[in-house]
Symmetry: none
DNA sequence: AATGAATGAGATTTCATTCAT
DNA sequence: CATGAATGAAATCTCATTCAT
């Protein structure tokens, strides 16, 4: 019967600040030790709380793990939804999404590590409320891609889901590498390279430069 | 003091067949239960061996985990190296690599699950001999991409490492989805869609429609 | 520093009504969950008080347990002592005690369960003030039995303590069965059967029925 | 897959002797500390085994508790069934049962304490296989009592179940007292007193002495 | 007087791993 | 070679209890 409680991403908390502290500590420790190797004692020490207190806030170690993305992903997606309408053009929107996506991980390395190395491999995460938001943020991509197909910014013979899978796969691959190997230094600056490739592909564009066209035609004769 | 031992991916085995049985059992169990949840007892039961026997073949549960990709990845890369020279054109080679890559996972769902959900998140895997082969198979991609850049099949302003990251990211994203969600049904048939997108990009190509082509051809004569 | 306190079975209470509420809640919860399984939180919830409040009234969970019989047993024994003198004959007095004893438990099933399944097995209960009253109520029996021996209502070759043990054992056995198995439906109606058996025993009484007497007498001649 | 196991009261044991040792140690420790207070570590130490070993033999602390009566009660009831047929007369049989019953506890004080103070209050014990045997040993009593009623050794207006309840209640009350208070010194020697009271009751028998018989006979004529 | 919040203190239980046979 | 049996070493989680407000 808590007389006065607060909400932290859907959870009633006695002291929401302490809840956030614990989550941050968990993020830090999980990122460094992995889920199994990290102990609740480690997290308690890092958060300067007792182990029992952690269980006052989270019913299990796994629930604490799943609490890590909850707040972050919510804010992330909220802001995306807020800004997207102000951007003109599907390509620009896509570039924005990709940049935000990379920046999210680039700015929160521990968070990135937890998501890429721990959460992604945990099937229970799929049942999570946070995962719902992940899915809704995936829809951002599909919608933008479809928008681009409609207004002929993008080719009409592409498969939006596959495009989204490629973009996410690319980003996740790069972020995972960064978590594991520490490179590249700056993830966010890859935005343009990724966009260019996604937009233009590998094959040289016929007519993109007259010179190349000529060469090609002649060689084929 | 084994009188007669055999090699199984660099390891001396008393009975190489039993070693392989254990690895297969481990693959099966890990794929279903995850690394931590799966017990050595589970694997022993599945392999119809005693737990102690497993320790005759592998010094730890984690070593057993790392043994799973060892043989598979070796054969995979060996065959790649063998066939690649017979394929003409960088684009064709890339298509071949992508198809092989997808088929590897499509044909071995348990293997796919273990690699995507368990091994990818384990930093220790990076120290593994198997990971060396993974890296060498990554080089296939870079080499082929560089080849394509040289002979103008591919644009020269691309970043081979990024392209490879995109392709791998795409494949791993799709395979992970398949492991977790069970779809799409057939991974391997995505090869063409992936290649087309990678090759041509999202932006409509000025020479993509026949009319434009005609114009082009005429103008070059 | 309570400004105005009250007594509840020898304990100073800030608010005697709340103390009784807590005891009743404890009785209810302990009866259903057992001592160890029941948590102070359970009791607090049932009593609609905070856990901390419980500790304002009782210094420990065990003290709360021991508080359950305190008031009940006091009133029970008080009334016994009050009424007994008005009953004529040791047999009648015994019948009265047995009936009261059974009715006490029959009328308070939760109380019965707590006493039979929890308190009886707790050696610390013996040190309790309540246990003193239990003992004094046991003396009722012994005194009545001795009275019956003196005035030849009862045989003189019996052992009062054993008789009392038999009666108590019988009652406790029946009450325990009722707590655990739910039968028989009505404990109090067993009074007569118990008394008859205790009074007359199993062996057929010579002369109890004329017919048997004749037979017996003839055969003995 | 144990190749060679043994049975200990229905349970497959790796090493039946060690299983029995653990049970004995548990009996000892539980009798002294109670179920909750006793730790598995205590029992392990007493049995000179590791805690883990205990869990190789018993899946939980409670299962270990329930294992305590298993073997004892089985042998007890087996022997009862074996000997009963050789005893003439229901009264003699009853005396035998009561004596055996008391002796069982008198000879095994720790066992008595565990049964009386711990097991009796545990509702889960009712679901136990051992409890089935307890019930079957209760049937001994009812059968003997019914036999006595048939052949007129016992009065025909008694309720066998109640008689049995009285006898068991008496015994359990006495054994519980012995466990808690340490007296009386010798339980088994109470057999005769109990039997006499049960057989003859409290009320002086009008035909118990020849003189009274005469009186009766005359008066009935 | 009442309680929300925090925690100290363990106990049970689980397994990977070892070793004698 | 194989394995049955034993265990060391922890880690999660639970609660009774305390204390500041």
């Amino acid at each position: 019967m808590p007389a006065k409680t607060s909400k932290y991403n859907g959870k009633s908390f006695k002291n929401p600040k302490k809840g956030a502290t614990i989550v941050k500590a968990a993020e830090h420790v999980f990122a460094r030790k992995g889920f199994q190797t990290a102990t609740v004692a480690d997290i308690a020490k890092k958060a300067r709380v007792s182990e029992a207190t952690i269980y006052e806030y989270f019913s299990s170690k796994e629930e604490l793990l799943f609490a890590i993305p909850a707040e972050t992903i919510r804010q992330y997606q909220e802001k995306n939804r807020e800004i997207l309408p102000y951007i003109r053009g599907a390509a620009n929107k896509l570039r924005f999404l990709i940049h935000r996506h990379l920046a999210l991980y680039a700015d929160n390395p521990d968070y990135a590590t937890v998501v890429m190395l721990i959460l992604k491999g945990n099937p229970n995460f799929l049942k999570t409320e946070s995962y719902q938001i992940v899915q809704s943020s995936a829809r951002n991509y599909t919608e933008v891609i479809e928008e681009g197909m409609k207004n002929n910014e993008f080719r009409s013979d592409i498969e939006p889901h596959l495009i989204r899978a490629m973009i996410w796969g690319t980003i996740e691959h790069l972020v995972t590498r960064k978590s594991l190997l520490g490179k590249p230094e700056d993830l966010a600056e890859l935005t343009d390279d990724i966009c260019n490739t996604i937009f233009s592909g590998l094959t040289p564009q016929q007519g993109a430069s007259p010179i190349q066209v000529d060469v090609r035609v002649h060689s084929s004769e």
